[in-house]
Amino acid sequence: MENNPYKPEIAVIEKIREETTGPRAIKTFTVSFQDEKVKKSFTYKSGQTAMLSVFGKGECMICITSTPTKKGFLEFSVMLQGKVTSALHALKVGDTIGVRGPYGNDFPLDKWKGKNLLFIGGGIGQAPLRSVYLNALDNRKDYGDITLIYGARTLSDLAYKEEMFELEKRDDVNVFLCLDWKFGKDGIIDEEAEEGWVTINRKEPAKTKPRKGTSRFTGFVPEVVTAVKPSPENAIAVSCGPPIMIKYAVANLKTLGFKDDQIYTTLEMRMKCGIGKCGRCNIGSIYVCKDGPVFSMSQLEKIPKEY
């Protein structure tokens, strides 16, 4: 059968990086296609997704977290969640999986040229953002200020740690990391533990003064947004993470003057086909698998609140 969109290509796992551990552990898989032809022809854009197969267990839709500016491999960050993700986590380097895609729309990086970019991520929500900011950083001269705000529950829940710490050292990107809680020895919440992570002014986050360029906080992501005070002037904000985080982060952005069409996020839905046929990922007349996952807030305003 020619051009069968349901037929996955075989890819080999080249590297597995354990980002976080625990019941909702995250692993980043670096995979590359077995077939050299596919390796060359597989192109994607930042924000797009791919359907991963563990044969015998099923498929699941995972966003591509690597940047299309780096060729020859794909990276997927997978959080332990259900049947297929558990099977993925059980795989070793050298094992094979099926990959089909890429699916969906992308972040309009071309349109954003010349603008200041603000990325607000929480937990596994950083995965789709990573493809975008790595892409933008590889084309650094095309964009204005690039600011990353990334939060996780604790230090050990912070994904892409080493990479984030490297980015903190760079001058051309502002990195603000935050943790919900700091844990001291014996796993007890300890505000004094882990040096350098400044506890945010919970009552009036705006009064917290971040250092220019980089800062580490203890506090919630939306509070950090208020503390950092990004300017809405010529800016685009992208927010991915748990729904509750997005809700308040977006509210705080709006207080700062951001408009709906300046704020982007991604949606997720249960998916099976990935190509807008099987029906289940619809929100109104759009299918998240092929018309999403990237939406601006002004687009979300127009569709039913059924996600």
Partner: protein, 346 residues
């Protein structure tokens, strides 16, 4: 894929007693036709043409399963040594004829044609569809729950068909609509050119059928109306008696939602596509446990919206052909016609 525009329709007649001979001459094809077994009429593979039941208004299950089977193997996966994986696709070269399909069901398949083509072509459907010839039988005795004329169809609609046959007494009037259909006529000698008298009778039969469908619903108003009814209390009220079973969607000629699962048996793996229903809660539930459509009112609303708004938004036609199956076979007598009426009046 549907009737090609370049073909000019041609009219023939065939004697009723010659139909069996016509079908026997089509031995290259697998012929599906309505068959009555006890009280249930279904499309089945025909070995003996005498068994065909063309007198009934319509089958319980729509014949969409010929082009979109309820269960089909998409891929067979063989795991070899050292992580090698071999993926086999099925060969789909069986040639099918759907004989005696009603115009509403043929329109249903014409609607599916658009869904499964488009940006991404579904090769399984497209292949099966290309290998299927549809011989329609004009409807002469519409059921009480039929409302095809309200949703853009007609008892003699030719959408999706290769031939349309009409019962005109001792003869069937045969309108050949496509080259694919013409091939069948050319291959046999039992067809003769229709006379003007034949045509006159055929037109009269069609007219009578039209007249039998007296009720006209304002379904065309729905795509616009529904824009503002998403949060309406109506959905809570109307869905109260819904059981959340899938009989309406499984019998429907235009429902096409499906599920893909891997099935293991010892060391073998098959990736299988099966029908799925938006009326099941497992249809949308996320792995996290969150369900965007947790209740039956959400799911019923989605079914109606999909047919009368979402499908219209995407394909500029209603996603319903008015066959009335969902009313006739609903265990609790949910009445879609009444729903359309009530919504149109809101």
């Amino acid at each position: 894929m549907t009737s090609s525009n370049s073909f000019k329709a041609e009219n023939f007649v065939i004697k009723k007693e010659d139909v069996a001979q016509f079908l026997k001459g089509l031995s290259d094809y697998t012929i599906y036709a309505p068959v009555q077994e006890e009280d249930t009429v279904l499309f089945k593979v025909i070995q003996n043409p005498d068994k065909i039941a063309l007198h009934i208004t319509n089958t319980v299950k729509s014949p969409k399963f010929v082009v979109l089977p309820q269960t089909e193997t998409m891929l067979k996966v063989t795991k070899g040594k050292e992580n090698s994986i071999k993926i086999d696709e099925p060969v789909l070269d069986e040639k099918n004829i759907l004989f005696g399909i009603r115009p509403c069901d043929a329109r249903g398949i014409a609607i599916l044609d658009k869904v499964f083509s488009g940006d991404y072509k579904d090769p399984y459907y497209v292949k099966r569809r290309a290998n299927t010839i549809m011989i329609g039988l004009a409807c002469t005795d519409p059921h009480r729950n039929c409302f095809c004329t309200s949703v853009g169809g007609a008892p003699d609609s030719t959408d999706g068909l290769d031939m349309l046959w009409t019962d005109i007494g001792d003869l069937y009037f045969v309108t050949v609509l496509t080259k694919k259909g013409m091939k069948l006529v050319k291959e046999t000698v039992i067809f003769s050119k229709a006379t003007s008298e034949n045509t006159r009778v055929m037109n009269k039969v069609h007219k009578t059928a039209h007249e039998k469908i007296t009720e006209k619903l304002n379904a065309d108003a729905l795509p616009k109306k529904l824009e503002n009814l998403f949060e309406d209390k109506y959905w809570d009220e109307v869905s109260m008696k819904c059981l959340g079973c899938g009989s309406c969607t499984y019998l429907c000629p235009t429902c096409y939602c499906f599920d893909i699962n891997d099935i293991e048996y010892r060391d073998k793996v098959k990736r299988v596509r099966t029908w799925d229903s938006c009326q099941f809660s497992s249809y949308t539930i996320h792995t996290s446990g969150h369900n965007p459509r947790p209740n039956k009112e959400n799911r019923m609303r989605n079914r109606v919206y999909h047919k009368y708004k979402y499908h219209h938004d995407n394909y500029n036609e209603l996603g319903c052909v008015g066959c009335g199956r969902c009313i006739t076979y609903c265990p609790v007598d949910m009445n879609l016609k009444a729903t359309i009426k009530e919504l149109a009046e809101k």
